[in-house]
Amino acid sequence: MSDNGNGDGGALAAGGPDDERIKKTGGLRQWLIRPELGGIVGVIAVFVFFGVLAGDSGMFNAQGIMNWSQISAQFMIIAVGACMLMVAGEFDLSVGSMIGFAGISIAMFGVVWGLPMWVAILITFAICMGVGAINGVIVVRTGLPSFIVTLAFLFILRGFTIFIPQTVENRTIIGGIEEAAEGDWLAAVFNTDLAGWLFVWLADIGVVDTFSRGTRAGEPVISGIPMLIVWAFVLVIIGHVVLTRTRFGNWIFAVGGDAQAARYVGVPVDRVKIIMFMTTAFCATVFACVQVFEFGSAAADRGILKEFEAIIAVVIGGALLTGGYGSVVGAALGALIFGVVQQGLFFADVESSLFRVFLGVILLFAVILNTYIRRIITGER
C-alpha cells in the first residue's frame, strides 16, 4: 500500500465523531502537551527542594522572598522578549551586550553630557530599539541565521559600550546616576517602591521585620514592591495576551512555524520579525534601566551572558528552538526557577558555581522534553 505512514485519512473516511482510529486522549495528555508543563513541574521541584534544604535559612521569610523574587523578575523581563522572538523563529544573542550598552548610554547622556534623565532614557530606548530593528532588517533581508547576525552585534555593542566611556571619560564605570535622576519622573518609573503602606502594616502585625537600629530604625526592612517586579508582571501579562489572544500573536506563531506558508496567506512576515527584534531590544533596555537606577551606576561589563540565560529560561518554559511554539507564561516560570535556584544555593550555603552545573543539566532536560512534546503535537514519529 502507498500509505505514507501518516495513519491515513481515518477521520476523513469514517466521517463520524467516534472514529475507531483516533485514540481517545485523556486530560493528562492534554496537559502534557501544554508548553508550560516543564516550567510548572520545575517550579514545584525547586520549591520542594529548597523548602527541605534551606527552609529555616530565611529564604522563605518576607526578606528572602523579596530577594529571589527580584532576581527572578530580572530574568523574566528579558525572557519575555526572548520568548516572543523565539516563537517567531529567531534568536537574539546581543541581549546581554544590549543591557550593558543601554546602561552606559543612559549614564553618558544623563550624567556625562548632562541631559535631563528622562531625555537620556528616551534616547536610549530609541537607539536600542533602532539596533534591534537593524538586527531584524539584516536577518530578513539577507536570510542569514539570526544566530550569526546577532552574534556580530554581541561584539559590536560590547565594543562600543567599552570604547565610548573609555574615550570620553577615561573610565568604564559611571556613577552619580542617583543624583542625576533625583526627582525625574521617568527614572521613577524604573525605580520606585510601590505600596510602602502595605509593608508598614505588615511590619506592625509582625509579618515583616523592622530595622532595629540606624537611621531607619523602626521602618520595615522592605520598603515596598520594587518597580522591577511590577515591570516583570506587566511585561509577562502583555506578552502572554498579545501572543495568545491577538491577531498579531497568531502571526508571530505563523512566522515561526513556517514563514513561507505564512507569507502565502498574506502575513507580513518581515514586519513581524523586525518588530520582535525591537521588542527584545525594548526588554533589554527596561532591564538596563531598572539595574542602572537601582545601582546608581552604569558599568561596561553589565549583562554578560544574559542572552543565554534568557534563552534557557525560554526553553525551560517550553518554547521550541525551531520556532512556532512557546509560551510567555512558561518562560516566566523558567525565569522563576532560575531566580529561586540561584538565590537558593546561596541560602542553602552551597558553592554558587554549582548554579552553572544546574543550568546546563536543566537546559538539557528541557530540550529533550520539548522535543518529545513536539512529536506528540505534530504526530511525528
Binding site: N4, A11, L12, G15, P17, N250, A261, Y264, V265, G266
Partner: protein, 255 residues
C-alpha cells in the same frame, strides 16, 4: 459556454537567461476543473506562481473576469479571488486547525481574536468538507496529509475564492486520501468555483478533470475537453511522445 474567470494569454517568463515559460495560454471557467499536466520541469510551478501573483510575467496578459490584471503580490491575487493551495506549504503543523484556518484574516472582537466565532466557523466549514474535527484546538500536525489539503481548500472556499489553484494536491498522498481530496475537488467545482488542478498523474486528472492542458518545456501543447483524449495520449504528450512510447513498450505497458 460562460466566459472564463481567468484567462492567461501567451504568458512568457524569463529568469535571467532561462526561459521558464515560452508562450502559455490557459483559461478556467466557473464550475469547471481544468487540469494542468506536465512532467517535472515543464513549467507548471512557474506558471501557477505567475497566476497567483508570486511571479510577474515577462510578457503576456492576465485577464480576470474580463479585466486586465497586474498582480503585484500573492495578496493582490487573493483579494481578487485567486486562492492557491500549495502541496506542502499549505498548513503550519504546530498550530491549531482554527489558527491555521484564519491565519492572516483572524476575526477580531475589539483588540482580540474572536475565538468563539473562529472555532465554530472552522468546525462547521470542516464538516461541510466531510471532516469531523475532534476539537478546533487540535494541531494540524495531527491531521493526515489529505485532511490538511482539505483544511486549506475549505479555507480558500470560505474566504470567497473564485478560482482555486491546487498544486499537486495528491502527489504525496495514499490511495484513500487521494480519493478523498478528489471528492473535495468535485464538491468545490459543483459550488461554482473554477478549479485549476496541477498534477503529473494522468489517472488523478482523468478522475475529476473537465479539460486538460499539457505543458511541456515551457509551452502549452494544447487543450482537450473530457472525452476528446485518452489517458494514453495524455501520458504521451506529457512525456514528449516518442521516447515514452518506446519505454512503455519495453516495460510492458505498466507505466
Amino acid at each position: 459556454m460562460a466566459d472564463p474567470i481567468v484567462h492567461m494569454e501567451n504568458i512568457t517568463k524569463h529568469f535571467g537567461p532561462v526561459i521558464a515559460l515560452n508562450g502559455v495560454s490557459f483559461d478556467v471557467k466557473a464550475g469547471e476543473c481544468h487540469c494542468l499536466l506536465g512532467d517535472n520541469g515543464a513549467g507548471k510551478s512557474t506558471f501557477i506562481k505567475t497566476m497567483s501573483g508570486v511571479h510577474k510575467p515577462t510578457s503576456g496578459e492576465i485577464m480576470f473576469e474580463g479585466q486586465k490584471m497586474n498582480f503585484a503580490s500573492p495578496r493582490d491575487a487573493m483579494e481578487a479571488g485567486i486562492a492557491t493551495v500549495y502541496q506542502d506549504l499549505a498548513m503550519i503543523p504546530l498550530m491549531s486547525v482554527t489558527r491555521n484556518f484564519w491565519m492572516g484574516r483572524e476575526p477580531k472582537k475589539g483588540f482580540f481574536i474572536d475565538f468563539d466565532k473562529a472555532n465554530s466557523t472552522t468546525m462547521s466549514e470542516m464538516k461541510k468538507m466531510g471532516i469531523n474535527l475532534r476539537s478546533p484546538d487540535q494541531a494540524v500536525g495531527t491531521l493526515s496529509g489529505g485532511e490538511r489539503q482539505t483544511v486549506a481548500i475549505a479555507r480558500a472556499v470560505y474566504f470567497g475564492a473564485k478560482v482555486l489553484i491546487l498544486d499537486e494536491p495528491t502527489s504525496a498522498l495514499g490511495v484513500r486520501q487521494t480519493s478523498n481530496v478528489l471528492a473535495t475537488v468535485d464538491r468545490v467545482r459543483k459550488s461554482g468555483i473554477g478549479v485549476v488542478f496541477i498534477t503529473h498523474n494522468v489517472r488523478h486528472a482523468m478522475a475529476v478533470g473537465d479539460r486538460f492542458t499539457v505543458l511541456n518545456r515551457g509551452k502549452t501543447l494544447g487543450t482537450a475537453a473530457r472525452g476528446e483524449i485518452t489517458p494514453e495520449e495524455l501520458q504521451d504528450l506529457m512525456a514528449g511522445g516518442q521516447e515514452m512510447a518506446q519505454l512503455e513498450g519495453s516495460l510492458g505497458g505498466t507505466v
